[in-house]
């Protein structure tokens, strides 16, 4: 186990070299991003998958994978930088985002279903 000061020093010097990518890592990230962007656009524009729900799920999966690719190859996320505090902050944010998004969509969806009769505005003059 290292002492606190040592860890801080190692970090202050270490992350400068660790947090930047290399030419190959940028190119790999770019290549993957192009593919992961092009496929969902192609799926939606051409309508290859007949079911819209299935297309939507595939497109969302591609988005999640591409976000991870960007995090690793462009933002250089890893569990080591800043003694893992960047990863901790990211995990906390992801939890908050998931709670906020699913909570909002779930509650408002139920509200919409329960309010159904009011939605029938088309028959009104």
């Amino acid at each position: 186990m290292k002492s606190d000061t040592h860890a801080l020093h190692a970090d202050a010097h270490g992350h400068d070299t660790a947090s930047h990518g290399t030419l190959s890592s940028y190119l790999i990230g770019f290549g993957l991003s192009v593919v992961l962007t092009a496929i969902p656009f192609w799926l939606v524009m051409s309508g290859v998958i007949a079911s819209k729900a299935a297309t939507a799920i595939v497109v969302m999966l591609f988005a999640v994978v591409q976000i991870v690719v960007h995090m690793i190859y462009f933002l250089h996320m890893n569990t080591r930088s800043e003694n893992g505090w960047t990863m901790m902050a990211l995990i906390f944010t992801v939890i908050m985002v998931v709670i906020a998004l699913t909570g909002s969509l779930w509650v408002m969806h139920h509200l919409n279903i329960n309010m159904m009769p009011v939605h029938n505005m088309s028959q009104m003059p």
Binding site: H15, A56, A63, H70, E82, M108
Partner: protein, 214 residues
């Protein structure tokens, strides 16, 4: 590690009361915590976008008998826009790589190319907005359009401020060279720029692609 230090501190100072803070004064070189602090700012920014995505998710289907995504969006234009932002991300990466090699001119050139791609992105987005507003699809038209303009507009505003920041840093580098402070600032802008690209993945997927599937 902290516990260990505290125990040692509590043991050496012969008071019976425990000490709950780290006693050894470690050095804080200038800017050593900037990247973590900036990362936490980005995470808070991420929460802002998450709220705007939630609003769009809730209101995105409320057209108020107005235009729907299918009537408004041109996916080819969005694809071009996406590639502009993606290209600006990789050119910013090249700027960081040349910065590490202390090549001032090459860094400036890549920053300028990044700025041009960013400008193209903003230009295309504003053209799209102008076209929509011209067709009567203004933010006041429906809840869908209000949330659309808020979400996409906030992202565009971030990119615009990123461009202002980029030009500022180019002037800084031209004046003072690639000094330590400027390297740190360029690193922060790099995180900001790549983060905006990550947000754009969410925008083109949830707003444009899923909007066309509705």
């Amino acid at each position: 590690m902290t516990v260990q230090t505290m125990n040692i501190a509590a043991g050496s100072s012969e008071t019976s009361q425990p000490v709950f803070h780290v006693l050894d004064e470690h050095a804080h070189p200038e800017g050593y915590s900037t990247s973590l602090g900036f990362w936490i700012y980005l995470m808070s920014d991420c929460l802002i976008f998450a709220m705007l995505f939630a609003v769009f998710g809730v209101l995105g289907g409320n057209y108020a008998a107005g235009p729907a995504p299918k009537d408004l969006f041109d996916l080819k234009l969005v694809a071009v826009n996406t590639s502009m932002l993606l290209l600006s991300s990789i050119t910013y990466g090249f700027a960081m790589l040349t910065m590490e090699k202390s090549q001032v001119r090459a860094t400036q050139m890549w920053l300028a190319i990044t700025g041009l791609f960013g400008l193209a992105f903003i230009g295309i987005e504003l053209t799209e907005f102008a076209h929509m507003i011209h067709e009567g699809a203004t933010p006041q038209r429906s809840a869908f359009l209000s949330s659309f303009f808020t979400l996409v507009g906030t992202h565009g505003l971030h990119v615009s401020f990123g461009l202002v920041w980029l030009v500022t840093l180019m002037v800084q580098v031209a004046r003072y060279g690639l000094i330590e402070a400027n390297r740190r600032r360029l690193m922060c802008l790099s995180m900001f720029w790549h983060f905006l690209d990550v947000v754009w993945i969410g925008v083109f997927t949830f707003v444009y692609l899923l909007g066309m599937l509705r």
